[in-house]
Subunit: 501 residues, 2 copies
């Protein structure tokens, strides 16, 4: 594996070789330890867990600002609750017989599939359980069982809930830290509304929340309505958020689903209206996971290690005394700087380890700390400090304006990361005007934009010809009509083809 | 079931009938919903989850202040890792043959018992797993497997870790919210030290942490060194913290264990000293759980509902506009009060629901909000506000000193709760001078202090005669010798007998 400039001694592959860089950096930067003896279940180290905790805090703040309440549901789900989901299948079958929207038709094939992906608990102590249980992959079943008890009248609506919990999936594909794991640190919001328009408004709110989070994490993304066949079971439609990783593969980092009243019919979630009538609720869900951290690691890092967006950096500023043995005022000054920064709400850490400054730099560079401050005898005498940005640049500043400069510089790092990640994304995207003769004629590691308005069979043809997957309709269609790559008809539908994680 | 004054209409049993009051109040106050279809796995409602979150925050702050780092280990434990624990049993057997401290001898009987109390995962998807796994009851096995990889040299010590996670126990006894559940919200700290004195110092630190937490939660407790036969498997000794509930039963709300090097020998946790020699670490653990919330609910509540200690109250102050239809300045003033309180770091909530004030009071009383502020036209004209303490007392105060009065009053509620809970504890304790003729001669619902210095057989006799359980040696022994209740010999050992949860 090729090494980057100066990175040979560090054992970090160059980022150009992303498939080697990513699994190496998550351990070298001390985010996780993969040596736990179950594949796909990593140990979260303090630095990784802290970064994830800051992501959770951003999410919780968004939830609080939009009047969602935090719950915590049991991990174990009795298998017989799934009878309700089977009832969903029945409902959908009946719907098909009455000739409805094809979006409702593919669900029944998929809903059975989920049982192949769960961990089962059939024994406890020395007993066989009467009813087998499984570890939640997501929480529709446990939550909606309770929703049907909680929702009685229109006054109970909207019900806006979320939880941040561990979920489980028996992955048979190759696992990757944060990206494809078997124990997942998971966020899920579930809402219930009086009617479709209430759920529509929730989808809009979810969309706004996702955009704000992406801004905080300095990540650009493609937001699409997934094709019918990639719709979540029981959903009317699914919107999904895909980041583009440096190898050109897309990573789904969030999805939000409009259920209409399909799950409510299966779970008997009804309410009495002001006029005394009974109706089913309309529902939505919104899911995100530790993949957000995976995208942060993959998109922002460089040959020297991670680069943490300031919003989630466990340490935003590290302060290092330099040549402290030459002047006994150096250490106290470094401490004072840390205290001043903490006081103004900045996550600062003093590094007074007895090590060469170069070795310290190297440590904090790998960990992606946005700002490094050095303070030595010369800085003391000039009432200044030297600050280095992880994204590049080093300067001396007067100590008087410490807090102001640090705040501005953190904002500067965020802005720079947003510019870099947008450039990265653009460099990985191209427009596909016509089908390639064979899939290998396409540039590997690219995401292709296409005008596409075909049916299922057309989509299959398109995917086969490119060996890529359709992400679905971009939420912003074309403004002027284009020619569909398969049918040749005019269309505004703007879609993307990608190799997905 | 008897009802308290004014509580008949609320459906809350009187607290005198504690065994009816407790299970009722946890649902009426909206802490949990027990209707989830697995016994002992409650759904945490937002109010309960928020209170628990504030307890977690207190714990995390203590951990950070004492240089513990937060990790997150996988939930699933492969069964074959237990071979290490069996090695522990071997180690202990050998130790016995060499004639060691009897504290090491009872462990082997117990260590097998734990397999009877876990949930097993033997199937995933449609596959039988090669190696069965279990849901962690606690994390010694997964953690120490990793510790043996992480600890290499004396420079890696002390290693101070903790996590807050869900753990599982297949309870066969009757379950009770927070007190005896099958999915447990659990805190566990695990540390490794170079030698026994390092671990000794950790035990002292744990003891200090527990005392500070008890102070924050306004809970008194008995802290004892458990008898050898109640020592945690693999521990040299166990210190346990017992609260006394209003029915006189004790509830173990924390325990901390000195392992010496017993687990380290089983898990090969060794380090190289400065002189190049290899040694086993000495270890400690410290565990607490949602039982802390159970003790808060049980000890502080009254006939009218919960009383939340301000340190963990999800809402510390509720502000209610009164007769707002008579003066349009009332609502804005109520909002201003909430904003001012929030600004000074107080958890305040506006209740502007269109309901009778009496019904609102009733709601917040059940939920145990420490302070209620009312603001009506008359208060506006006198530049004042009316404040009611959940622990009793109602007064008008000038609006100028809002923040100061509220802070003082929150402190006042805490002080009052500490006084009440100490009185409760004292009222439930008595000294046992001599054995009763038969157990039923003792007052039911009392904890008895005894001077006791007997052996195993003496303890069995004592427990049989009283039908109570020995909690162990109080950390503060008698200052002057007493007569042992069984042997008649003089002793300083001060112990307690109780009916434990």
């Amino acid at each position: 594996m090729p090494k980057g400039p100066g990175s040979a001694k560090r054992g970090i592959p160059t980022k150009e070789d992303f498939n080697a860089w990513y699994p190496a950096i998550v351990e070298i930067a001390d985010l996780v330890d993969k040596r736990y003896p179950i594949k796909g279940m990593d140990v979260w180290k303090p630095y990784g867990w802290s970064a994830m905790g800051h992501i959770d805090t951003l999410v919780r703040t968004e939830m609080r600002n939009t009047d969602h309440d935090e719950y915590n549901f049991p991990l174990l789900v009795p298998h017989d609750l799934l009878d309700k989901e089977n009832k969903l299948v029945q409902t959908l079958k009946m719907a098909r017989e009455q000739g409805v929207d094809p979006s409702e038709l593919r669900i029944e094939e998929e809903i059975g599939g989920f049982e192949k992906e769960v961990y089962w608990v059939k024994h406890a102590g020395e007993h066989d359980l009467d009813v087998p249980m499984f570890l939640r992959p997501t929480s529709e079943t446990p939550m909606y069982t309770m929703f049907s008890l909680w929702i009685r009248s229109h006054a109970d609506l909207p019900l806006k809930t979320f939880q941040i919990v561990n979920t489980f999936r028996y992955e048979t594909k190759q696992t990757r830290s944060f990206i494809r794991v078997r124990e997942i640190h998971f966020f899920e919001a579930h809402t219930a509304h009086a009617d479709q328009s209430g759920a529509d408004a929730q989808i809009d709110e979810d969309s706004d929340i996702v955009r704000r989070l992406l801004h905080d994490l300095c990540l650009p993304a493609i937001i699409s309505r997934r094709p019918v066949w990639d719709t979540f079971p029981g959903a009317w439609y699914t919107n999904a958020v895909d980041a583009i990783m440096p190898n050109g593969r897309t990573l789904q980092i969030a999805s939000y689903h409009h259920y209409r009243d399909q799950w409510a019919r299966a779970f008997d979630i009804t309410y009495e209206g002001a006029d005394g009538s009974q109706s089913n609720c309309h529902q939505t869900t919104f899911g995100m996971s530790e993949r957000l951290l995976g995208a942060v690691v993959g998109v922002h890092g460089d040959d020297a290690g991670l680069i943490m967006p300031p919003s989630i950096a466990p340490i935003q500023v590290v302060v290092m005394p330099v040549a402290a043995h030459l002047d006994e005022a150096v250490e106290p000054q470094a401490s004072t700087i840390v205290e001043r920064l903490k006081k103004s709400g900045i996550r600062a850490r003093l590094d007074s380890r007895d090590m060469r400054p170069g070795a310290k730099h190297y440590d904090w560079e790998i960990k992606g700390v946005p700002l490094r401050i050095e303070i030595g005898p010369r800085d003391l005498s000039s009432d200044s400090f030297v600050m280095t940005l992880r994204t590049g640049g080093k300067d001396s500043h007067p100590i008087d304006v410490l807090e102001e400069i640090v705040s501005k510089s953190l904002e500067g790092v965020s802005t720079e990361l947003r510019a870099r990640s947008s450039n990265l994304m653009e460099s990985k995207m191209a427009v596909l005007q016509s089908l390639p003769q064979k899939p290998s004629d396409l540039d590997e590691g690219m995401v292709y934009e296409v005008a596409f308005d075909g049916n299922d069979a057309d989509a299959e043809k398109l995917e086969k010809s490119t060996n890529l997957t359709l992400l679905g309709d971009l939420l912003e269609p074309y403004e002027a009509p284009r020619i569909c790559i398969i049918t040749g008809k005019e269309t505004l539908r703007r879609q993307h083809l990608a190799r997905m994680y």
